[in-house]
């Protein structure tokens, strides 16, 4: 078990190093003049511009070493907001975690439940209706679903995270939950099919297994055969998928956040792209990659906890 954990952590650190390096050069390849963006709309003399540019003309190797010494340094300013990038990200990360975290949780719970029910009775009416519906929803772009929800359900707020003038802890929580309904629904109904189909497929794979015949031979009721034996085995691939998806949580909702003006990282990315605000984009990309790496690691570790075969090999 210890060897397994060390190996997985080692791989994650290696991946992170690669991403840090790649992230630096990727943004050096982007076209655009940072000083031009920084001074956009301001009346600057050519001399002033040249002086500003001189601050940025250190050789690329030196820039790289400065960056490597602390890739998460909060001293770099966003060209768009003129504030340290990590400070902005720190404010924007929580609304995204709340939105996409809730959506993944709702979609995963509902999807696993639907997948178990339709997989256990494969080919039943319930199965056909569920599979057809979730796949249809999966085929829809989430921003379009978001716009449709705004049109059909006008009594829910169509954007933002809080109404103006709401104060106090409890009213704020209720108000935020109220604002969450539509964007979470949009994301969850699109994600639903993913969890339903993987849970259904892994359960169907288990149905023919001999250990289920043994469980029935022992005299267990069908629901116990399902709950105690089939589902724990079928859950393994599904748990991995849920955790891998959580890794994309912080970067995964750009279009939905845009449609609902949700003040999260997705909206921030869209705003940063318009510049392009290179320091901010670079930081956001680094964070997205970090999220995927951390949750992939967690998925691996969780798998070892759930499946005794992994850790003892």
């Amino acid at each position: 078990m210890r060897g397994y954990v060390l190996k997985k952590v080692g791989w994650s650190i290696g991946t992170l190093l690669f991403v840090v390096v790649f992230n630096f050069f990727l943004f050096r390849l982007l076209p655009g003049d940072p000083i031009g963006l920084y001074t956009r709309g301001r009346n600057m003399s050519p001399d002033q511009l040249i002086r500003l540019r001189q601050q940025l003309n250190r050789p690329i190797g030196e820039q790289f070493i400065t960056y490597l010494s602390n890739p998460f340094a909060s001293t770099i300013n966003s060209t768009r907001f003129n504030r340290p990038v990590w400070e902005i990200i720190g404010e924007r990360v929580w609304p995204t975690v709340l939105l996409v975290g809730t959506a993944v949780l709702v979609a995963a719970l509902a999807g696993v439940w639907l997948g178990i029910r339709s997989g256990w009775r494969r080919g039943s009416r319930f199965d056909r209706v569920t599979t057809g519906t979730t796949n249809t929803l999966y085929a829809m772009p989430e921003f379009w679903v978001g716009m449709m929800l705004i049109m059909w359900l006008p009594f829910f707020p169509s954007g933002g995270i809080n109404s103006v003038g709401v104060t106090g802890f409890l009213p704020t929580v209720v108000d935020t939950a109220w604002h969450l309904v539509l964007p979470v629904t949009a994301l969850a109904i699109v994600y639903l099919a993913e969890y339903t189909s993987i849970m259904r497929a892994s359960l169907v794979d288990e149905l023919r297994q001999d250990y289920l015949t043994l469980a029935r031979a022992k005299g267990l009721r069908e629901d116990l055969v399902r709950r105690r034996h089939a589902v724990p085995n079928a859950l393994l691939p599904t748990m991995t998928l849920i955790f891998l998806n959580l890794g994309f949580v912080i970067g995964g909702a750009i279009t939905v956040e845009y449609v609902f003006s949700w003040p999260g990282l997705g909206l921030l990315t869209a705003e940063a792209l318009r510049g392009p605000d290179i320091p901010l984009l670079q930081a956001v990309f680094l964070l997205f990659s970090l999220g995927v790496i951390v949750f992939t690691l967690l998925a691996d570790l969780l798998y070892a906890v759930l499946d005794p075969r992994v850790s003892t090999q």
Partner: protein, 319 residues
């Protein structure tokens, strides 16, 4: 009175595939019945039919009487109560029959807690330890997962599991396949010991006649879903009346027996596909002594004396 009685049992799988075609057998407490035959002859189908574990699409005819009660006429509640408590199965392929994500201790304790709900967790664990020791495994292995055991150990876990609820009938489906000879001998000794000590009825299914010959009181040889010969174990293989049992016995040479010295006896061809059986005696295309009447009509089991039955037109002739 016999504990298990199959009366003209027939099982037809979806797509009109008759896997078992009218089998009548019985086992009494303290008796070991061997069932022999090549793969695909219906041995495992019979196992599953006894506890009604066949797929829903299968059609079952005849009856399976367990302690006088028809298994296929029971309510689901009664069936669940009978499963494992009255009759249990040692399934073949222990690796796939055990649940990979539960410890073997929990898997053995499960039927105990299910059928004897008053048992405390602790008493069940204690019993699991005893069962494991009974099959020659240390009690602490209860905490292991199936993949941590060797093939032979897993097979012994399957036997411990089958004995968990002190059943009166155990059906062992190829319990010694994939075991090395030493472990095989241990497992067989263990099973025969239990039959003597507990008065179990044991149905031992195997394709290995040397296993059946040493362990069983009576043997039934199956071919294409039917019993072709049945009788005391010692005579069925040494003095078989059906050419198929003869060929089967000849395929396992015995060291020191001059009859096996030269030609290693085998049987050409494959057993027929149950969905497409030849007319007449299903064995006649492979039979070394077949004659024209063999392809005309199927031969029923006939009493050939000394407690034996055989389904062959030539059964009356001495071999």
């Amino acid at each position: 009175m016999s504990l298990l009685e199959l009366r003209d049992l027939s099982v037809t799988y979806a797509g009109d595939v008759p896997a078992v075609r009218g089998v009548s057998l019985s086992v009494a407490p303290g008796e070991v019945l061997g069932v022999a035959g090549e793969s695909g002859c219906g041995k495992s189908t019979i196992t599953n039919a006894v506890l009604r574990l066949l797929p829903k699409s299968a059609t079952v005819g005849g009856s399976v009487l367990l302690d006088g009660e028809d298994v296929h006429g029971m309510s689901f509640g009664r069936l669940r109560a009978v499963r494992w408590a009255t009759a249990s199965i040692v399934f073949q392929g222990a690796l796939h029959s055990l649940n990979a994500v539960r410890t073997i201790g929990r898997q053995i304790a499960e039927p105990i807690l299910l059928h004897e709900p008053k048992t405390s967790r602790k008493a069940a664990d204690l019993r699991v330890g005893e069962l494991l020791e009974q099959v020659g495994l240390p009690a602490r292995r209860a905490r292991d997962y199936p993949h941590q055991l060797s093939g032979g150990q897993r097979q012994r876990v399957m036997i411990a599991l089958a004995l968990a609820c002190r059943p009166r009938l155990v059906i062992a489906d190829e319990p010694t396949t994939a075991l090395d000879v030493m472990v095989q001998a241990q497992v067989l000794q263990l099973l025969s010991g239990l039959v003597k000590d507990l008065g179990l009825a044991l149905v031992l299914i195997s394709h290995d006649l040397s296993v059946l010959g040493t362990t069983c009181d009576r043997v039934a040889v199956m071919y294409a879903g039917k019993v072709v010969e049945e009788g005391p174990a010692s005579v069925v293989f040494d003095d078989s009346r059906h050419p198929y049992s003869g060929a089967l016995a000849g395929a396992f040479p015995r060291v020191g027996d001059p009859r096996f010295r030269y030609a290693p006896a085998g049987l050409a061809g494959d057993p027929p596909y149950p969905g497409d059986l030849p007319a007449g005696c299903p064995f006649h295309p492979r039979c070394p002594v077949a004659f024209d009447r063999c392809s005309e009509a199927e031969v029923e089991l006939l009493d050939v004396g000394a407690g034996r039955r055989a389904a062959c037109l030539r059964a009356g002739e001495a071999s």
